[in-house]
Symmetry: C2
Amino acid sequence: MNISDFLMSLVSFSKDELNDILNHFEKESVLKNEVLVQQGDICNYLYYVEQGMGRSYYLNESGREITQWFFGVGKFMTSADSFFQKSPSLYYLEVLEDSVLYRISKSNIDKLFEKYPKMEKLGRLASIEMLTRVVNKLNAIQFQTAKERYDYMLAEFPDIVYQVPLGHIASYLGMSQETLSRIRKNEPKIM
Amino acid sequence: MNISDFLMSLVSFSKDELNDILNHFEKESVLKNEVLVQQGDICNYLYYVEQGMGRSYYLNESGREITQWFFGVGKFMTSADSFFQKSPSLYYLEVLEDSVLYRISKSNIDKLFEKYPKMEKLGRLASIEMLTRVVNKLNAIQFQTAKERYDYMLAEFPDIVYQVPLGHIASYLGMSQETLSRIRKNEPKIM
DNA sequence: ATGTTTTTTTGATATATGTCAAAAGGAAAT
DNA sequence: ATTTCCTTTTGACATATATCAAAAAAACAT
C-alpha cells in the first residue's frame, strides 16, 4: 500500500495538503537485516513501511534477542517512546527483508502537527489503532496457552508468520522456540 | 488532581477554551462497586477520575473475573475500543471506591475534536501515554516471573496496590491469587 | 457482640512449558 | 558438489506456577 493511499485512508487531505505532507518524508530503500536503530540510541525517524517488513527487539539479561513487535506493509514502524520523547531507545529496529520505507523526522512531523490539525487527528487515530493492537496482544499473552498465542499470531500477522525465523516469533509470543516448534508440528499447515 | 489542571498539564488552553471544554463534561459521583459499563454494552462515556479509582475486567470461559486495567486518580477511564468505535464493550467498567468522575459522551468529544485542534493534540498525547503504559505491562507480563510482575505493579500503581482485593491484582498480573499471596508473604512490606 | 459471607493463606499435587544438549535439516558460500 | 553456518526439531529432565481443597482471617450485616 503506497503512503498516499494510506494517509488518505485515515484522514482526507486535499491534493495540496497531501503533497506538502509527502514532501516532509524521505523515501529509503534498505536491505534485509539492516539495523535502523540501536538500543540506547535515539530513534530519529518514524517509518512508513511501503514494502517489506521489520521488527523491534531487545536483548534480555542473558543477551538473547526478544522480538517486541513486527511491522508489516502499510504500518508505521518506530521505537515510539524514543521517537516522541527523544529518549534512548529500549529497542533495536531492523528490517527483516529488503524494504521500501518512507521516513519522517521528529522536527518534520512536529511541523506538520502545527500546520495541519488533521495531522493531529491522523496521529491520534494511528495511536489508538496501535493501542488496540497492543491490548490484543496483551490479552493473548496474559491468559492463553502457548498454542492459543500462536493462533493469535496467525490472526494478527498472517502475512508475516511464515516469513520470519521461528525464533523471532517464539520470543515475540513469550515462549521458547522449542515449544513453538512443537506447536507447529501439530498445526495442520495449509499451503 | 482536578480536571482543569489535568487538561492544562497536557495542552495549554485559554480560559475561554477551557470553560467551553469543561461544559462538555458532566460531573458524577458514584459509589463503591458501581458498574458503569456491562460487557456487551456500548461504553458511551469517557471518564476522568478526579477522586477514587476504577477497573476494567472481563469474565473468562470459566466465568472468573479477569482485571484488565486499573484507573487511578488523574487518569481517563473508558473501554477504549467500545467508546471510540461504538462497538460492544469487551469489558466491564466499575469503580472500586466511592469516586468523583467527569464524563464526556462520544458526540461531545467529537464536537471538541472538530472545534479545537488542540483537543486532537490532547487526544494524541493521552493515547500515546496509554500506549506506553500498556507496552510496559506487556513487557512485564511477557518476560518476568510472578515476583517481578508484582514489582512492576508496585511501581506502576503504588497508590492502588494495597487498596484493592488481592484477587483483582492477581488476575491483572496473570497469576493465581494463591501465587500472589505467597509472593506477598515474602515481600518486606513497608507501612 | 454474634453469626455470615468474603477474602486470604496454607498445603499437597499436577502440569505446561522452560532449559540443556544433540541431531537433523536447509541455506549460503566457495 | 562440498563445506560451513544457521535454523529447526527432538528427547530428557527440571521447575515455576496452576489447581484443588480446606483452614484462617477479615469484613460485613444483623
